[in-house]
Subunit: 254 residues, 2 copies
């Protein structure tokens, strides 16, 4: 049985606590949060405390806090012979400070409290300071997900960056498309069949294979028309830069 | 019964011919294409000809050809008392030239020959030179789709532009994310659970509501780290510009 104390009350902490409560071989001993108010959505069966309270013994202290809070929270945790692990994709393991045994468990997913997540499919990217701790972290992670990987710190950071493109930036492109509709008094739901087909294609094709559009086929006439119709300098600049990036990717001249 | 002659052999023509063969009240009389070779995937039951052959009488001549071919193909069609319609989102109705009765039927979707499309859900954006022809075009369109709209030329063009953001540009963001993975020797399939959740969120939230990430929360530290990790001037510029666009959208300071 791996005993875990979870620190944090945000979206990642929420889904980790759910996953741990459903996992065999893992005992979630306690959740540490600044205020019990923040834990209202959490399962009431788990004992809670704040950082000044009595923090229970555990094999793993799992810090699911914001990147900038990791170092400060790690400092406030009692020094014990346990593994201290953060869940950030973009933060060095060393942020965990003076603790001897350190590790990273980065879940590559976007979490919302309102939406259930199939945690078994979430890629968990692992790192640890020594083989023994990596093995402990693997045991914990395998109990939570079927998609566990050991990567280098550089690979983890690049994955975090890739996730920004694949999630945050794709979402913003949809937002800009919806904004263009709304500016024209056209309901944004008109884009929904197109969006659904966009996603569906990516289930069977790589994004490079699925790429279409004026920039992909080097259709300068349509590009120029679009730039005339865009009455927004920021969108114009985005349109140009992304179109050139597409053209460069597929060796098209614009 | 509305008699239609379809001109074209590409992806839009392919799905239009399929939809018309399945529609009641519509008779697809003939398909006109440069070469019969191009029609190998089409239903063999429909008579075909090329532009120099005998073109049958019809109520509607439907030009599903590339934007730049519309004017030239329209010129070559016999002049009859019929409605001449193109299917382009970005082209003026006037490209149909000397024909008296002109219209536009723009299907807002991305088509591939390999993938079946539920044509009934595809938004069809209509335009015509007079009310009588608009009414004919509506009858034809309502037989093909449950999602028929009359819009102004400006609205149609803006929708075409919105579709570039929502489809082509989102797809390219995924492609860049996949490229970052591959450059690190990490399999791009790792992004799949994240992509699925990205799409799933957009089924219930607007893209503006679903937006997350460092730029959305004004997390300058992570943005700066990402820019250090990107060893690619083009991706760096894209990263900066898109992040600033996100920050501007949600009144964040970067």
């Amino acid at each position: 049985m791996i005993n875990v104390v979870l620190i944090g009350s945000g979206k990642v902490a929420y889904h980790l606590h759910k996953a741990m409560l459903g996992a065999s071989g893992v005992a979630l001993k306690q959740i540490i949060a600044r205020s019990s108010q923040a834990l209202l959505d959490f399962e009431a069966s788990v004992p809670t405390a704040d950082l000044n309270g009595t923090i229970q013994e555990a094999d793993v202290y799992l810090l699911a806090v914001s990147d900038r809070a990791i170092a400060e929270v790690a400092r406030q945790l009692p020094k014990r012979d346990a593994l201290y692990v953060h869940t950030s994709g973009a933060t060095d393991m060393e942020a965990l400070g003076v603790h001897q045994r350190k590790g990273v468990l980065y879940p590559l997913q976007t979490f919302s409290k309102e939406r259930p997540v199939d945690f078994h499919s979430v890629p968990l990217i692992l790192e640890a300071g020594c083989d023994k701790d990596l093995s402990l972290l693997e045991d914990l992670s395998n109990a939570l997900s079927n998609n566990v990987l050991k990567l280098t710190p550089a690979q983890r950071k690049q994955l975090h960056l890739a996730a920004v493109f694949a999630n945050n930036f794709t979402n913003h492109m949809v937002a800009l498309g919806e904004e263009i509709c709304l500016n024209q008094g056209v309901q944004k739901e008109l884009l929904r069949p197109l969006l659904r087909e966009t996603w569906a294609k990516l289930e069977t094709l790589s994004a490079a294979q699925a790429q279409t559009g004026p920039a992909r086929r080097g259709d300068r006439r349509t590009l120029e028309a679009h730039l005339r119709w865009l009455n927004d300098p920021e969108k114009e600049e985005l349109y140009k830069l992304i179109s050139h990036s597409i053209a460069n990717t597929y060796d098209q001249e614009l």
